[in-house]
């Protein structure tokens, strides 16, 4: 069982790396519209990097179903069990 707060910190690190912004702070309500450079391509980079970071595999449906960062984090915590 992965601790949600640890997962949040690790996810934040991934976001900072992918979007090359060391001051980026993720929030549950955050969506692609809130982050500069979050387009369909960096989205793929983000998914692949999250899979690597947490050792999980996300299905196409799960990726398509993502609404915001909070949902993403919840999915990660659930999958990383």
């Amino acid at each position: 069982m992965i601790d949600p707060e640890t997962a949040r910190l690790r996810l934040n690190r991934v976001f900072r790396d992918i979007f090359e912004d060391e001051s980026l702070e993720i929030a549950d309500s955050m969506t692609a519209a809130d982050v500069e450079g979050w387009d369909s391509l960096t989205h793929i980079d983000l998914i692949v990097e999250v899979e690597r970071e947490f050792g999980i595999k996300l299905s196409t449906a799960e990726v398509r179903g993502l609404k915001n960062v909070g949902g993403f984090l919840a999915l990660i915590v659930q999958k990383a069990r």
């Binding site: 391509l41 980079d45 998914i47 990726v63």
Partner: protein
């Protein structure tokens, strides 16, 4: 760049890879999946851009989708129409990607016998691309299939990425595909390996010829020599396609040539080598002289050497020369070199095949000019550290082994057993010294032995030998400085040494003379302690760096 897959991810990769090769690439990205629209329309952005090269990236996934709709019979004609339209539009170089073979096998293994299956049709399409490209000079094939099959289809395809973003393989393999494209484009600009420069001992054959002799190095189709034999077969195939082979080795030339001429296990013969630079000079100078002899650019030279020191020295002085890391195990040499995809070309003709011979003859006529590289800076940067002391019990095995095996840098070639080495260690009238060397690239272990005997006012040196791996570093100079200061500390007035010529130790025949010793009788040499001038070296006692600072 035209594609039926997403190309956005390729852009930064291609730019970075070109820039690594000092090429600034401007890349025009045609709209997604609009190949015909672009190439058939003279007013398209493609033609306004006036490309030097057009890269056509066809994906297996898009091909599969078309196959399920209407089969694959029209695919090849469609492709060759695109080539023709590009040629008509003034494009002189086309890089056509072939297809990673699909993993779907609706017939199971029977698929092999069914011509209309997706797998069989894709395979056929690949071979038609290869055949057609072989008949026209403007089309080069970017062999995506070989990359995909090398990493494995199971890993290559990521259908999720295709579904989400039309990415045609897993992200981690995009750089491989991009590199393959860049390699072809650079080859089209004349950037290709024209000469492979080879070390000998433990690169072209196993073991040290100076120690084992020409007939006993490891080379041949079976056993320990097979790995080297395989490398030589591969090198011969390069030579047959016009790449020159040269030798750069620290060795005795007669010894080295004897292997080529006499050892029946050798694939490469003396005539296969365009230039031999076999001597005890540093390899950067020798590669310069090979280059001058052959009159080709440094950036078209590939240097293969199992020794990390030599690789780093060449990288340091000749940064344009391609110097790949070689794996520890010779069995993997060919694979390591192949993975780097170093042997691109854009054409092959009968002249290419004959080129090696022409160069070899020309090189024979020309006298290579020697140049001098200042290796001081390099030696300094190595931060070499030596551990020097009397024999210790734990070292006796290695010490005896060195006595038995060292042939080339060995002044007197006395062979001592472990018992005899132990006796010297315990003899207080004897000074049995051994030295270990390390540098920032690693530890060379025990590499030199000197045995001296103080007698009256004389210090007599009975044995001096060193591993050829550490030639040219200043180890013998460091040891000589050390011995002379020992003699001085003991108030001895003279130091004497001996050179006993053997079939293999010609490289040290002037050893004593070079240190200022005078020939007193026969093989005996002597120097007044007060007359000795210490040599500067860049070696420090273990734990002390070049600035005299102490470290752990």
């Amino acid at each position: 760049m035209l594609s039926d897959a997403a190309t956005q991810q390729f852009l930064p990769l291609l730019k970075a890879l070109f820039s690594e090769n000092a090429v600034t690439a401007e890349i025009y990205e045609a709209p997604f999946d609009a190949m015909e629209l672009e190439v058939l329309n003279p007013a398209a952005g493609l033609y306004a851009f006036k490309p030097d090269v057009v890269v056509l990236i066809h994906s297996t996934q898009a091909l599969r989708a078309r196959y399920y709709e209407h089969g694959m019979s029209a695919e090849f004609d469609r492709m060759s129409r695109i080539w023709d339209a590009l040629a008509a539009g003034g494009v002189v170089r086309i890089v056509q990607c072939n297809f990673a073979l699909p993993y779907e096998r609706p017939f199971g293994q029977f698929d092999q016998k069914v011509h209309q299956s997706l797998y069989a049709e894709t395979r056929l399409l690949n071979s038609r691309i290869a055949q057609a490209a072989g008949e026209r000079a403007d089309v080069l094939v970017c062999d995506i299939e070989s990359i995909a099959s090398y990493v494995g289809r199971k890993h290559w395809f990521d259908e999720r990425l295709w579904d989400m973003s039309k990415t045609f393989c897993r992200l981690e393999f995009l750089p491989h595909a991009a590199q393959a494209m860049v390699d072809l484009v650079l080859a089209g600009q004349g950037r290709m390996v024209k000469c492979v420069i080879l070390d000998l001992d433990n690169t072209l054959w196993g073991g040290v010829v100076g120690d084992l002799g020409p007939m006993d190095v490891e080379i041949g189709p079976h056993g320990d020599g097979e790995a080297f034999y395989r490398l030589q077969k591969f090198l011969l195939s390069l030579k047959k396609r016009g790449i020159l082979l040269a030798v750069c080795s620290k060795n005795d030339l007669a010894n080295a040539l004897a292997v080529f001429d006499q050892n029946p296990g050798m694939v490469l013969k003396r005539d296969d080598i365009a230039v031999f630079a076999v001597n005890w000079d540093n390899k950067a100078d020798n590669i310069r002289s090979i280059r001058d002899t052959l009159e080709i650019g440094f950036d078209s030279l590939l240097f293969l050497d199992d020794n990390a020191f030599e690789r780093n020295l060449v990288r340091n002085f000749l940064p344009e020369v391609i110097v790949p890391e070689l794996p520890d195990d010779p069995a993997d040499y060919v694979r390591a070199v192949s993975e780097l995809n170093l042997f691109e070309t854009t054409a092959f003709s009968a002249e290419d095949a004959a080129r090696a011979e022409l160069y070899r003859q020309e090189a024979g006529r020309r006298q290579a000019q020697s140049s001098y590289t200042d290796v001081t800076e390099f030696l300094k940067s190595l931060n070499m550290q030596i551990t020097l002391g009397r024999f210790e019990r734990s070292q006796i095995g290695r010490i005896s082994q060195l006595f038995l095996r060292s042939n080339q840098f060995n002044l007197t070639t006395h062979r001592y057993t472990e018992a005899e080495c132990t006796a010297m260690m315990e003899d207080e009238s004897c000074i049995p010294l051994c030295a270990s060397l390390s540098d920032r690239f690693g530890d060379h272990g025990l590499i030199s032995i000197v045995v001296a005997w103080p007698q009256g006012d004389l210090m007599r040196i009975s044995d001096w030998l060193m591993s050829c791996r550490v030639l040219g570093r200043g180890v013998e100079q460091y040891l000589m400085n050390h011995l002379l200061s020992m003699a001085r500390a003991r108030s001895l007035s003279r130091v004497s040494g001996e050179y006993l010529p053997s079939a293999k130790n010609g490289m040290v025949k002037d050893f004593w003379r070079n240190f200022g010793f005078e020939n007193t009788a026969g093989n005996l040499w002597e120097i007044e302690v007060s007359a000795y001038v210490p040599t500067t070296t860049w070696i420090n006692p273990a734990g002390i760096d070049n600035e005299g600072e102490k470290h752990d």
